[in-house]
């Protein structure tokens, strides 16, 4: 599980995938002046953003030690699909309009790993298509996780209260469930 500085070509691929879903320039804003580093594992590739000052440490290869995390975890490519890390979602919410706001009850259910029903939806960004990924927020603007719409956002108003609106992809309850 060695670390590698991500090549320009590979980063371009990540950028295209992310920007296509969350808006032009989102990847560049999130990256800032940090350097992308990748770690391959059996499950896929994880991307991290680190300070370029850390080149001096990375060059030493961490002999006798196995890197588990460094800097900020940007996301992972698993089975060919990119998924943001939970810790990036707080920043992502500020640079993308793709939000879905849920009620208090919906927030509770979502952070227990449940998907989102129509009755929990307080607000959703307009013009989003089915399968679009959205950042899930509570009414105070706190980030709860990431979900994938199961219907076009314009159709949500017409659904019954118990109909599925968005599938849970990642939620902050995972921090506790995964311990």
């Amino acid at each position: 599980m060695s670390l590698e500085i991500v090549s320009q070509l590979d980063w371009q691929m990540v950028t295209e995938v992310v920007d296509q879903e969350f808006g032009e320039g989102v990847t560049k804003t999130l990256r800032g002046r940090l350097m992308p580093v990748s770690k391959k594992s059996k499950k896929g590739i994880s991307y991290y953003l680190v300070s370029s000052d850390w080149m001096r440490f990375l060059q030493n290869k961490f002999t006798d030690f196995e890197p588990a995390h460094l800097g900020r975890r940007f996301g992972d490519i698993v089975e060919g699909r990119f998924r943001f890390s939970l810790s990036m979602l707080d920043e992502l919410k500020d640079v993308t309009p793709n939000h879905l706001v849920v009620s208090g009850k919906g927030a509770e259910a979502f952070t227990y790993g449940r998907s989102i029903l129509k009755e929990s939806v307080v607000e959703v960004a307009p013009g989003l298509s089915r399968e679009q990924r959205v950042v899930v927020l509570n009414k105070h603007g706190d980030c709860l996780g990431l979900a994938s719409l199961t219907v076009d956002s314009e159709r949500i108003g017409r659904l019954g209260p118990d109909r599925l609106v968005a599938k849970n992809l990642a939620d902050i309850g995972w921090y506790i469930r995964n311990e």
Binding site: S51, D53, W54, F57, N60, F62, T63, D64, F65, E66, P67, A68, H69, L70, G71, R72, R73, S85, L86, S87, D90, A107, T111, N138, D142, I172, G173, Y175, I176, N178, E179
Partner: protein, 325 residues
């Protein structure tokens, strides 16, 4: 107290409070009857829950207001700006959304105090050893305001998962978490400005939190831990930059894992000197435990004791390596 009489009294106390006899015998030799009784009684009471407010996610006062609105009673720990004892009423400390958001970390007061004693500065290279589940790593990053570099090193694969979770939950971005044996730090090629070694120990200070520890560890376990602690310190001292600061701590009250270990290290490493901890807390470390004379500078180390402070037992010693940084 004569040895025979002490052994007899130790057996009686061990039976009454549910300890292994070797433990109460050591307490009697260390403290005498009155203080031993006071200690044993204090260990029957769990310390208050404490939390550290994480300013990496939100300013401290804002989180305090938010939690008070939810009915959580908070009281600041005098020597810790970010540390509070907390009454969650009928809720569990980890059940609030603010916990999931990383606004606070449930952590004992002594564990927070260790990091305060380390006093990490912005831009430095700091190493936290035996670091899972990450309370101290995330606290170090908080005090460094996510600048510099924190090497967080843990051997246990399962505990590593909690460490990484907590790093991410708390918004830490200046940490490098590595799995490996802290006795092999040479391979990293890093000379940190500060190292925190909260060493694996018998946990004899945690009896107020976990009564099972009254009977779960033998004297052989304490000896094993002391050997391991000595090896870890040897490795750490070699790695520390000249002029660098080392904080050694354990959640054990046993002098065998604390003052004895440090006394031996001071003998082997004349370049290491104990220095004063800036914060006012606890009581001085022992210089004559069980009547054995140790380095007098050990009085600058600090102890938390359940019967004096109402907290879990802890030992903290701050040292500096000679040389210029």
């Amino acid at each position: 107290m004569a040895e025979k009489k002490r052994k007899q009294r130790a057996k009686e106390l061990a039976k009454e409070f549910g300890y292994l006899p070797y433990m109460t015998e050591r307490y009697l030799a260390l403290w005498g009857e009155e203080e031993t009784l006071s200690f044993l009684e204090a260990c029957e009471i769990a310390p208050k829950t404490a939390i550290r407010i994480n300013s990496l996610k939100m300013p401290i006062e804002q989180t305090v207001r938010r939690m008070k609105r939810k009915g959580i009673a908070l009281k600041r720990v005098p020597w810790l700006e970010e540390g509070f004892t907390a009454d969650f009423g009928d809720r569990t400390p980890g059940s609030l959304f603010e916990h999931l958001f990383g606004h606070y970390y449930v952590q004992g007061v002594p564990s927070m105090t260790v990091v305060k004693a380390l006093d990490p500065q912005k831009g430095e290279v700091v190493m936290d050893l035996a670091s899972a589940p990450g309370g101290k790593t995330t606290h170090i990053s908080q005090l460094m305001e996510n600048t510099g570099t924190v090497f967080s090193i843990e051997l246990d694969r399962l505990r590593m998962r909690s460490l990484v979770n907590n790093i991410q939950r708390c918004g830490v971005t200046n940490a490098i978490a590595l799995r490996g044996d802290a006795r092999k730090l040479d391979g990293l090629g890093v000379a940190p400005d500060r190292i925190l070694l909260d060493a694996p120990c018998s946990g004899e200070g945690l009896i107020p939190l976990d009564p099972a520890r009254k009977r779960s560890k033998t004297m052989a376990d304490i000896r094993y831990c002391a050997t391991r602690q000595d090896e870890l310190l040897d490795s750490v001292i070699k790695t520390l930059a000249p002029g660098g600061v080392l904080v050694y701590s354990t959640c054990s009250i046993a002098p065998e894992e604390n003052e004895y270990v440090i006394d031996s290290i001071l003998g082997k490493h004349p370049e290491m000197k104990i220095i004063q901890i800036d914060q006012e807390f606890g009581v001085p470390g022992y210089t004559q435990p069980y009547g054995v004379s140790l380095d007098v500078s050990l009085s600058q180390s600090r102890r938390f004791l359940p019967h004096i402070h109402g907290l879990e037992g802890f030992f903290i010693c701050k040292m500096r390596k000679e040389g210029d940084r």
